[in-house]
């Protein structure tokens, strides 16, 4: 059987974990659970978590995905960490605006802007 395509890729820059979604849809419940588990593992690493989520590939997402992101945000806050979102396409950004989650999350237009927005 073919290897399943990973759902996210993670690269490190300084103490920041940059997580890029590989698939263009974050819809499927089992995928969302798996992504949530991966992010939880990153949050639980030693030290205060700094996560940057890159949405460059994402064309669709569901309310379940938003729920997962809210959960991630809550976990990071509990650990006194920081979360940034970037490269969100206009159609997807609209979903954040309608749900007013653009006010909950710190969203930056580009990856460099997001990276420089982390506090030391």
């Amino acid at each position: 059987m073919a290897e399943p395509t990973p759902l996210v890729s993670v690269v490190n820059q300084r103490d920041i974990r940059i997580v890029e979604f590989i698939h263009n849809k974050i819809l499927d419940e089992s995928n969302i659970t798996d992504i949530g588990t991966t992010l939880k593992a990153l949050i639980d690493e030693p030290g205060k978590p700094k996560l940057l989520l890159d949405f460059a590939n994402v064309d669709h997402l569901s309310s379940a995905a938003l729920g997962m992101l809210i959960n991630v945000n809550t976990q990071i806050k509990k650990r006194d960490g920081q979360l940034r979102l970037t490269n969100i396409k206009p159609k997807i950004f609209e979903v954040f605006v309608i749900t007013k989650l653009n006010k909950l999350f710190k969203i930056k237009p580009t990856r460099p802007e997001a990276l420089t927005s982390f506090n030391e």
Binding site: L27, D28, E29, H60, S62, S63, A64, L66, G67, I70, N71, N73, T74, K91, E94, V95, V97, I98, T99, K100, L101, K103, L104
Partner: protein, 172 residues
């Protein structure tokens, strides 16, 4: 997997042509209207097939990208609500879906066999006190992206309409 009851195509003169569950028409010389009826078990795999069939139809009809995005999102949320919150994955319960697609609009009904719900009792997820809660956003998105939304039969039946209008901006 997917129980397709039938597909009725209606030509410009209004006569009906029943396609026993097959695809409706060719892309350009397609019928004026496609009508789909599905009865599916309460699982996401069956739901995917239904969504694909409806979305392929609206794509074939050249619905604009924003409209297709809206229908895809609303249909996904409606199916999740019916399977997860309505039927609670009960294998004995079905989800009934009807879709009528014309060149101008898509009319979709999603009905489950669950206990129903009172729309007015769902907390508004955009309020400050609810923004970190994980529920109510699916309904909000359906209502924002579709032109008409009506809940009936005690909340078990959702009827929604999306017109294929250019540059539609969702209500916020």
């Amino acid at each position: 997997m997917v129980g397709v009851v039938g597909t009725i195509d209606m030509d410009m003169a209004g006569s009906k042509r029943r396609n026993g569950g097959g695809r409706s028409g060719s892309p350009r010389a397609g019928p004026a209207q496609s009508h789909y009826v599905f009865n599916i078990p309460s699982d996401f795999a069956a739901s995917r097939d239904v969504q694909l069939r409806i979305l392929q139809d609206i794509e074939r009809r050249g619905f604009n990208e924003q409209t297709r995005f809206a229908i895809k999102l609303a249909l996904e949320e409606a199916m999740i609500n019916a399977i997860k919150h309505g039927n609670r994955f009960d294998p004995r319960k079905k989800v009934h879906i009807e879709a009528t697609v014309t060149p101008d609009e898509a009319r979709i009904i999603v009905e489950d066999e669950g206990p129903g719900f009172d729309r007015s009792s769902v907390p508004n997820p955009t309020l400050r006190e609810n923004v970190e809660k994980c529920s109510g956003r699916g309904i909000l998105l359906i209502e924002a992206y579709m032109n008409q939304v009506r809940w009936s039969h005690g909340g078990r039946r959702l009827r929604m309409i999306k017109r294929n209008e250019p540059d539609v901006i969702p209500r916020c």
